[in-house]
């Protein structure tokens, strides 16, 4: 049942239906009871604008909480105080390889503490859950979200249930178990898990971060856009390439950029937001290519398991954001995903998970097609760490060279000649 916020706040007005505009107080509710549209947090932008400046943000903590004025919590942050503010890496080598003069990697493979962008959304969701009085948190997850919810719940001493598909990568399963939450492996794919969680959320008074408190949770993704802009020196790039699963991240990147523009923190905003999906699960990119504003749910079959959402909750809005921004969407095969992962690792020294391979693969295609031009400043969002999806590249990276502990053997093996006296 929805709970009232313990304190009112001036920055958050409440929730509003994205479809019919019906307004609600800031409770735990995610679907409009009139038209079934998704609910979104509504802010008092006038009041925020009056006090929010670049300087004020720059003086904030080195975490996503420097943007607390644009995040949906009523009080002070209490969970995930070190998440966010990850490096924006100037990727000269990869840019040279792909034919881009100005390429950056937003490197959330080193997000704190669970090495994916989910640490952002979970910090916001759990802080909000706590202030709404919940003691149990839960989620439906393709892996990274579960890892982050489990870790933050442990640190916040909250009870925790994470629901995952039965066929996840070993590291993502282990990355739950170590924190000792209740790990529930569901015999089915993510869409089955999500469906089950909706039913459970109707029965138990838990904060399901991506079900009943989704409107708050999803806002955390905006911080990726904020950080990119701030780290570029308060400039919005020409392109941001975003991996797409539920479509929420892409939608919130677009929202974050527009908020910064509306608040006067950037003068110009002409960013094109491009979406990247795996061919084996591309309901949104397929709709984009067909020029539709609706999509057909699919049964995922891809190594990019973190993107394997066949019935994406924010698919419509992701399509809309990409189209509005003038961006594009494309897909890559499993082989191209592995190529993308190894290319990023071997040019920039960044080991991304499969979703990163999707992003780099699609970036490469968009440059080839001329949809991203050489001179356009481009940022690729790399949202998860390759150590969590080792299975994908295990057979593509070769083996170590084994030698006996002998200098001669070493030099012979590598053709270095014998310099012994």
């Amino acid at each position: 049942m929805p709970k009232a916020s313990p304190m009112s706040t001036d920055k958050m007005k409440g929730l509003i239906c994205r479809e019919c505009g019906k307004e609600y107080p800031a409770v735990s509710l995610h679907v409009c009871d009139m038209c079934f549209g998704p609910l979104e947090v509504q802010y008092n932008y006038k009041q925020i604008k009056a006090r929010l400046t670049r300087k004020a943000i720059e003086a904030g903590p080195k975490s996503l909480w420097r943007y607390v004025d644009l995040l949906p919590i009523a009080g002070e942050p209490t969970v995930g105080l070190n998440a966010g503010f990850t490096p924006l890496v100037r990727a000269k080598n990869l840019g040279d390889e792909l034919g881009l003069d100005t390429l950056y990697i937003k490197n959330d493979t080193v997000n704190h503490p669970t090495l994916s962008f989910k640490d952002r959304v979970v910090s916001v969701a759990l802080t909000r859950a706590r202030e709404m009085g919940y003691d149990t948190v839960a989620c439906a997850s393709t892996g990274n979200l579960a890892n982050s919810v489990a870790a933050h719940a442990a640190a916040a001493k909250m009870q925790c249930y994470v629901f995952i598909p039965h066929d996840l990568e070993a590291s993502k399963v282990l990355g739950n178990l170590v924190y000792r939450p209740n790990v529930v492996e569901v015999e089915g794919n993510y869409d089955d898990v999500n469906r089950l969680c909706s039913e459970i959320a109707g029965e138990h008074k838990w904060a399901f971060v991506n079900v009943n408190i989704r409107p708050y949770y999803a806002e955390g993704s905006k911080t990726l856009a904020y950080e990119v802009v701030e780290q570029l020196g308060w400039i919005a790039p020409d392109h941001i390439v975003v991996p797409v699963a539920s479509g929420s991240l892409l939608t919130k990147i677009w929202k974050g950029l527009n908020e910064f523009h509306k608040l006067g923190l950037i003068d110009r905003m002409a960013t094109k937001v491009d979406g990247a999906q795996a061919e084996g699960c591309s309901p949104i990119a397929t709709a984009y290519k067909l020029g539709r504003d609706f999509f057909k749910p699919v049964k995922p079959a891809t190594i990019a398991k973190s993107l394997a959402i066949g019935n994406p909750a924010d698919g419509y809005y992701a399509l809309k954001a990409t189209t509005e921004s003038g961006g594009a969407m494309d897909t890559v095969t499993d082989e191209e995903i592995i190529e993308g992962m190894t290319l990023l690792a071997q040019t920039e020294g960044i080991f991304a998970e499969t979703a990163g391979g999707v992003t780099i693969g699609v970036l490469k295609k968009l440059v080839k097609q001329g949809l991203i031009k050489r001179t356009e400043a481009t940022v690729a969002l790399i949202t998860g760490n390759g150590l969590k999806t080792q299975e994908a590249v295990m057979n593509a990276v070769g083996r170590p060279t084994r030698i006996s502990p002998s200098l001669v053997h070493f030099q012979k093996t590598f053709g270095l000649g014998n310099h012994e006296r």
């Binding site: 479809e19 019919c20 995610h30 679907v31 409009c32 009871d33 009139m34 038209c35 079934f36 549209g37 998704p38 009870q159 249930y161 629901f163 399963v173 178990l177 000792r180 939450p181 209740n182 790990v183 529930v184 492996e185 569901v186 015999e187 089915g188 089955d192 999500n194 469906r195 089950l196 909706s198 039913e199 459970i200 959320a201 109707g202 029965e203 138990h204 079900v211 609706f294 057909k296 909750a313 419509y316």
Partner: protein, 127 residues
Amino acid sequence: MSGKGSMVKVRIPTPLRPLTGGKSEVAAPASDIQSLIDSLNGQFPGLKDRVCDDKGEIRRFVNIYLNEEDIRFLKGKHTPLKDGDEVSIVPAIAGGTFPGRGPRLGTRGTPCSVNARGRSGGCEGRR
């Protein structure tokens, strides 16, 4: 089109059941989806407002399936109906329990890999 049309079976989601007197399945005469919605609204006043916007278009986050196929991939609200057809109205985003199409997930096994800290005897989510 005949005036009465065919008799079709319609599955009603939980949030709309207050309008159907709690019934999860109803029958209505209709020749196509649009006339079905009108016909349902005759029996259960107010239902059309929930399913359609003020221009009469089916709302974006309401999915309507004819025999398991999303009508967006058929002829939308002009999709013709015949005797014995089954129509499901399903909110696109689950807001709690609702009748779905396809297998009910909650009836399958959900093994708990870990039931840590000894706080509960099993998976509370299983019903």
